[in-house]
């Protein structure tokens, strides 16, 4: 606020409290989204039951027919499964923001002295927490069915961090998508249309060598493939693509980080602009 015209009888607010206010408001908004999850715990199924089920099904169904050079399918698969289930959990973000925009509560927020960005930041932070839960579930399920890493603890944690960073960036893309469409149903449909090909035409659950040439190029350049390859490298798991000649997979870690930062750099300002457009009149 500009301090030039405050009448003497009005309490003025110190300008240096604005960052503190922002942090507090993000906290309040994050709590709100976590309370939603507590009210409807089934919302969490896509970061709990579904990932566990996917890991078990894929490892035992695909694994029975898959030969991975330099290891077992089980050890190959977990890093890719982790990437895939994290990305397939993000459509919930698109649906969530679209639902918010459809209810009157947004008008309430807009009459309060809070920054609009806190609404987006709160949602994204709550989603990040559920992504951490998702990663934990995959790790535990993987461990239970016999997945082992062959790297230092720090390297393994870095692997999880790499996937988490990408999934977080992807959730901002979903946030944009949720605000670009008119209603939650469209948000749901459209986000799945995006997520499915990205998840499957990739190095996440199968090696790309066996794919037809065109599909293989697409899969090799799919950001999800670099993230999966990077996580395999950091976990010390079988990673046949490391010597496949595919540049984005041979330099998987920097490419994965680059993709994530690029997506964040584009989607965060875009999300704020979209939010303003959706709530202005």
């Amino acid at each position: 606020m500009t301090a030039t015209t405050i009448p003497l009888d009005e309490p003025s607010v110190a300008p240096d409290s604005r960052i503190g206010d922002w942090v507090r408001d993000v906290g309040v908004m994050t709590r709100r989204n976590l309370l939603h999850i507590r009210r409807e715990p089934m919302q969490l199924s896509d970061v709990t039951i579904q990932p566990a089920l996917f890991v078990v099904l894929f490892v035992f169904v695909f694994g029975s027919a898959m030969v991975i050079p330099g290891g077992t399918y089980k050890d190959f698969a977990i890093a890719g499964m982790l990437t895939m289930v994290m990305v397939t959990a993000t459509p919930g973000t698109a649906v969530g923001i679209s639902t918010d925009l459809h209810t009157g509560v947004i008008d309430r927020f807009r009459t309060l002295p809070m920054a609009p960005s806190t609404i987006l930041a709160g949602r994204s932070l709550a989603d990040l927490l559920s992504l951490v839960l998702c990663a934990t579930i995959v790790a535990i399920t993987g461990f239970l069915i016999g997945w082992r890493t062959d790297a230092s603890l720090l390297s393994v944690l870095a692997g999880f961090g790499l996937v988490l960073l990408f999934a977080y960036a992807f959730s901002w893309l979903m946030l944009c998508m949720g605000m670009a469409v008119t209603d939650p149903e469209s948000a749901q449909a459209l986000s799945w249309l995006l997520v499915f090909p990205i998840a499957f035409v990739s190095y996440a659950i199968v090696p790309t060598e066996g794919m037809p040439a065109v599909l293989r190029s697409i899969a090799n350049w799919n950001p999800l493939s670099s993230v999966s390859a990077g996580a395999r490298e950091l976990f010390g798991n079988p990673n046949p693509a490391a010597h496949s000649g595919a540049w984005p997979l041979e330099h998987a870690i920097p490419v994965a980080i680059g993709w994530s930062l690029l997506i964040l750099a584009v989607t965060i300002p875009a999300a704020i602009r979209l939010f303003r457009r959706r709530t202005a009149d």
């Binding site: 405050i6 939603h36 008008d107």
Partner: protein, 338 residues
């Protein structure tokens, strides 16, 4: 068009001031020219039919919508230049409940209080205070989804007041409420004003404006067409009227009554209407005069002009037109899709 800057000095005793507000959406001129002033600690009633521009005016005054032209200052701050400063001091209750359906009443109030700047303990105690004041403690820990329409409205108003605002905007606060809930809402509004809150209230109910508002602004088609106290507005349509229903039509009734009337005597079959001055015993004189001429009277009624009459006199149409538009969604639909 850009909003013209507000004058730097705003009288502190008028927490709401607006001058020449204009807002269009494409080809729809929602608000063409609205100016108003609300003295501190009073209620201004903004009266108008559906689509008159009431909601758009409130949205501009509450920083939700930027005016195309004109300016407004609320609680001492320009709504365009200093929206945050305005938001810190106002409470807003719209026609649609602006609540989080998946949170409990208490969680909603605590959230709004926190976002308004209250510390956690303060937010907690204010939420409790509001729940008690609005008779909702039994529902405090239930999810809002399960609330009735009246409870939702009360909680919504509680959310607007949890930050102790000095200026309160109520956009059709009783639309769609049952008579008991309406009366309850009126009591709450009166209490707030008694405590010094300044209130702007929009309504399409003439009785509501009549009962609550210190001053009334009548809006039609985005323009202020009249302003004043309820008695002043009523005076514009004239004084009292005497209406008689005769047992049978009579040819000389007009001549008999003309000396007693304050204007033209209108005879329509058995029904006679005449403007009258409020003289003691007038109705008795009228009935005796007719009785003396052998005319019997079935019904006598002295009518004071209602705001309905005012509205009709000012706009040439009735207060509640048949056309509904997005300015005022149908009350029965409210909450149905939440």
């Amino acid at each position: 068009m850009t909003p013209s800057p507000a004058p730097p000095s705003s009288s502190a005793d008028h927490p709401i001031r607006a001058e020449g507000l204009v807002k269009s959406f494409g080809d729809t001129h929602a608000v063409r020219d609205v100016s108003l002033e609300v003295p501190a600690g009073t209620i201004l009633g903004v009266l108008g039919p559906n689509g008159a521009g009431k909601t758009t005016t409130v949205r501009m005054l509450t920083t939700l919508s930027v005016p195309d032209a004109g300016w407004a200052r609320v609680a001492g701050h320009d709504v365009v230049a200093e929206p945050r400063a305005v938001r810190r001091r106002i409470g807003v209750t719209g026609q649609n409940a602006t609540l989080d359906e998946n949170l409990t009443g208490r969680e909603n109030l605590e959230m709004v209080a926190r976002l308004g700047g209250a510390s956690r303990p303060t937010a907690r105690s204010r939420a409790v205070e509001m729940l008690e004041r609005f008779e909702l403690p039994h529902a405090a820990d239930r999810v809002v989804k399960g609330y009735s329409g009246g409870m939702r409205r009360r909680l919504d108003l509680a959310a607007s007041l949890v930050g102790h605002p000095s200026v309160l905007f109520l956009d059709e606060p009783t639309t769609g409420l049952d008579p008991t809930s309406r009366a309850g809402m009126w009591d709450i509004i009166r209490e707030l004003v008694a405590d010094g809150t300044t209130v702007l209230l929009t309504t399409q109910y003439l009785d509501e404006a009549d009962l609550l508002a210190d001053r009334i602004v009548v809006i039609d088609q985005g323009t202020v067409i009249a302003e004043g106290t309820s008695p002043q507005l009523k005076a514009r349509v004239g004084g009292e009227r005497l209406q008689l229903v005769l047992s049978a039509p009579h040819p000389s009734v007009r001549d008999l009554l003309a000396p007693l009337a304050a204007g033209e005597v209108v005879v329509d079959g058995r029904t006679v209407t005449m403007p009258v001055d409020p003289v003691p015993g007038l109705a008795t004189t009228v009935v005796r005069t007719l009785d003396g001429a052998g005319i019997t009277v079935d019904d006598v009624e002295v009518r004071r002009p209602s705001l309905d009459d005012v509205f009709f006199a000012l706009t040439g149409h009735a207060a509640e037109p048949v056309t509904a538009d997005d300015d005022d969604p149908l009350p029965e639909l409210e909450g149905a899709n939440r």
